[in-house]
């Protein structure tokens, strides 16, 4: 068992208690899922009780584990690694169910369990009137189990299993209102698009196994670079493995060109969008690339692909978010865009800022989604921002918390998004990717603009709400506003807590052991941070750009007493008709996919169908028909007359005799 502990040198198997805590993180949500699924329906209006209680306990245990890992440092730099039991043993193929907790896992645990718990609490209020809420809470617990397994797994196969389990829970929750056709279709779309990426991921795992014969993280991260150094594998194989793993990440984290499922996934209930499609599951791809950093560091060419895909998705999604009118879709495209930032950072080698942004984004995007849920709740399940407006005074808590979230994502100091995004952009510039920085800064203008467009259309200006609904608008219950406030607090403070001073804040100290090797391999420059130098300029530019975007959003769509300029907006959209239509239609990606896969793919499929029917089936049926007709022909020699048969015997005898004579002579 302690093979990997020896291999890593610094890892530990921890005490019995540590191992129990890790297992409890997985077992508790699973019990919650089973109980809620079995007896939830009988609990009626209280069906949330088991699920929420379990999540609170899970959160406490997770925090204790995080404390052990990050603050006490009980597991050393290598982290806690232990094996539960041997899962598969077939010849040389051995896979254990083993778990690992290091700084990266601990940081993920903070985001996953905190947002997870708050979303559970929020759902009590949000789903109060839904007859299927027991099912909802069962699925949520199941998702938490899967997601925790994903971050705790210590080998690629277990990670892959968890990867598919979160995909399954995502599918179940997107299609939660399965009677609605659009929800059922969106669930199917998410599942199928993810399969494309997962194919690459599975191939990558197989490639890893065939090259080094193990799937355990510690062993793989040691053996693969060694194999590369000794010339046992070619550099292109390393790049191939990394790109295949990245394909999985592209699917799960909805990056171009597999991003199309995430906006449609907004068909699910809003808490699901907040938890799965903003704060946790979609981060799994970022986590995967970060986890596999020792491999990616050996394949700089693959990292450039990661950076390019990330920054392109970042730009594309931000331009689409500019014109969407569905409040949740704006946030969905914003999520794509922010995930793009993270991948861009990973690609430039700025691993720690990427994870930092993952954390801050998890909080403020979770907050924004839950806030949008509260808005939707207030205006009676209306999601179209053209039918909102002027909600500022009616739902005050939601307004203030969403304003905090918007300022955070826009990158206004000193809120969370500023610290992570600025650090991410500055490091990518210094690591030799000025184009990533330039596009990233451009996108931060768009981000500030579309967020304040959303705020303006929703909370400020005149009301466009349905007159029948207008008098009934009310603030959400405390179970919903509570989580909003609790998420607003980290959205303000977590950036400065983890990220100050810039580029050497606590997040760097904590995550350094995980990424140390990769940073050395890539030979990244580590210059001291200079406020009155390059860093100050980069920081100034990105803040200035964000402020410009924000003020433009205020001017056009209103802000508190500032009235929106609807006329100017209309003139602008008329003037910029082409870009507007492209953005409004999401760069025509759904149409492109329809053309490529439904129409052209359909034609190819029909061609293959023809081939199958006429050539393959034809061959099989042809053999049958030939047998049948030859049988029918041969029937005629079976006359049933004894003497015909006797003639045959006599003829045969004669032939044999003649043959004998010929051969004998």
């Amino acid at each position: 068992m302690p093979l990997f502990a020896e291999a890593s040198g610094t890892g530990t198997t921890g005490t019995q208690l540590d191992q129990m805590m890790v297992l409890a993180l997985l077992v508790l949500p699973l019990i919650g899922f089973a109980l809620t699924a079995l007896v939830g329906r009988r609990l009626g209006g209280k069906s949330w009780i088991v699920a929420v209680a379990v999540m609170v306990v899970t959160w406490i245990i997770a925090m204790a584990l995080v404390y052990q890992t990050l603050i006490v440092g009980a597991f050393g730099e290598g982290g806690l690694h232990f094996e539960l039991y041997r899962w598969i043993e077939a010849g040389d193929f051995r896979v254990d169910v083993d778990f690992g907790v290091d700084a990266l896992t601990a940081v993920m645990l903070i985001v996953v369990t905190t947002v997870g718990m708050l979303v559970h609490v929020y759902s009590i209020g949000y789903m109060a009137h839904d007859p299927g809420r027991w099912r909802f809470f069962a699925y949520l617990n199941f998702f938490m189990f899967s997601m925790l397994l994903l971050v705790l797994a210590d080998n690629f196969l277990l990670l892959f299993a968890a990867w598919e389990l979160v995909g399954l829970s995502s599918y179940l929750l997107i299609g939660f209102w399965y009677r609605r056709r659009s929800a059922a279709l969106a669930a199917k779309k998410a599942f199928i698009v993810n399969r494309v990426g997962d194919l690459g991921f599975a191939l990558g795992i197989m490639a890893i196994w065939t090259t080094v014969g193990t799937l355990n993280y510690t062993e793989v991260f040691q053996l693969l670079p060694e194999a590369l150094a000794s010339g046992a594998i070619e550099p292109w194989m390393m790049i191939g493995i990394c790109l295949l793993l990245f394909a999985g990440a592209v699917g799960k984290s909805a990056q171009f060109p597999l991003h199309v499922w995430l906006p449609d996934a907004m068909e699910g209930p809003t808490p699901v969008s907040a938890l799965i499609h903003a704060a946790t599951m979609v981060n799994a791809g970022v986590y995967l690339v970060a986890r596999a950093n020792p491999l990616f560091a050996q394949a700089p060419e693959a990292l450039v692909v990661v950076a390019a895909v990330g920054i392109f998705t970042c730009l594309m999604a931000a331009t689409i978010a500019l014109t969407q009118t569905d409040i949740k879709r704006v946030l969905a495209y914003s999520t794509l865009s922010q995930l793009g930032y993270m991948f861009a950072a990973l690609g430039t080698g700025a691993f720690i800022p990427a994870i930092f942004h993952l954390v801050t984004h998890g909080f403020f995007k979770g907050l924004l989604f839950l806030g949008s849920g509260s808005v939707i709740h207030a205006v009676h399940e209306e999601q179209d921002m053209d039918r909102m407006g002027g909600l500022r005074r009616k739902i005050r808590v939601t307004h203030i918390t969403m304003l905090v979230g918007s300022l955070a994502i826009a990158g206004i100091p000193p809120l969370a998004g500023f610290w992570s995004k600025d650090e991410l952009l500055a490091e990518s510039f210094k690591f030799g990717f000025p184009w990533v920085w330039a596009i990233g800064v451009g996108v931060s203008l768009l981000t500030a603009f579309y967020m304040f467009r959303l705020m303006g259309k929703t909370f400020y200006g005149p009301s466009n709400v349905d007159p029948h609904v207008e008098p009934k608008i009310h603030e959400s219950p405390p179970s919903m506003t509570g989580p909003l406030i609790l998420l607003a607090i980290p959205s303000i403070f977590i950036g400065i807590l983890l990220g100050f001073p810039p580029e050497s804040g606590p997040i760097h100290t904590l995550l350094e052991p995980v990424f140390h090797g990769a940073e050395e391999t890539l030979a990244l420059p580590h210059e001291p941070y200079t406020v009155f130098g390059l860093d100050g300029i980069l920081l100034g530019v990105s803040v200035a750009v964000a402020v410009i975007g924000m003020v433009a959003g205020w001017r056009l769509f209103g802000f508190f007493r500032l009235a929106p300029r609807t006329q100017t907006v209309r003139t602008l959209t008329d003037r910029l008709r082409m870009p507007y239509r492209v953005s409004k239609n999401k760069w025509y990606f759904d149409e492109l996919n329809d053309l490529l896969f439904v129409r052209i793919g359909g034609l190819v499929a029909r061609g293959l169908w023809w081939f199958d029917v006429h050539v393959i089936d034809g061959a099989v049926n042809g053999v049958a028909a030939a047998t049948q007709s030859s049988g029918r022909g041969l029937r005629h020699i079976q006359t049933g007359r004894v003497q015909n048969y006797a003639l045959g015997i006599a003829g045969g005898l004669l032939l044999m005799a003649i043959g004998y004579l010929v051969v004998a002579r």
Binding site: T639, G640, R641, Q643, L647
Partner: protein, 103 residues
């Protein structure tokens, strides 16, 4: 008694050919049975002749011939019984009417 084996074999061959022709050409089941007897006896003649002329087979030919006669008698008995049974069923001794095996 001729001193040549060939004469016996030629006679035997002729008898066998006549029997074969009768078996193939006659429509009457009884006549076919008789033809079979003729073929069997042609073979018997050949065997006995070999026994008499080939020193290595001296005395054995007659024994084999006796076996053949015994088998032929049994065959004739069974064959005749079958023919009678079919005749009772079909009211005809002509074999080309017995075509029900075809189906």
């Amino acid at each position: 008694m001729s001193q040549s084996l060939d004469a016996y074999l030629i006679l035997s061959g002729l008898l066998f050919a006549i029997g074969t022709f009768g078996f193939l050409a006659k429509r009457n089941a009884i006549a076919m049975l008789m033809s079979i007897e003729l073929m069997l006896n042609a073979v018997n003649l050949a065997i006995v002749a070999f026994g008499a002329f080939v020193p290595a087979l001296a005395g054995q030919g007659a024994v084999i011939a006796l076996f053949v006669m015994a088998v032929a008698a049994a065959e004739a008995t069974v064959g005749l019984a079958i023919v009678i049974a079919i005749y009772r069923n079909r009211r005809t001794p002509l074999v080309d009417e017995y075509a029900s095996m075809r189906e």
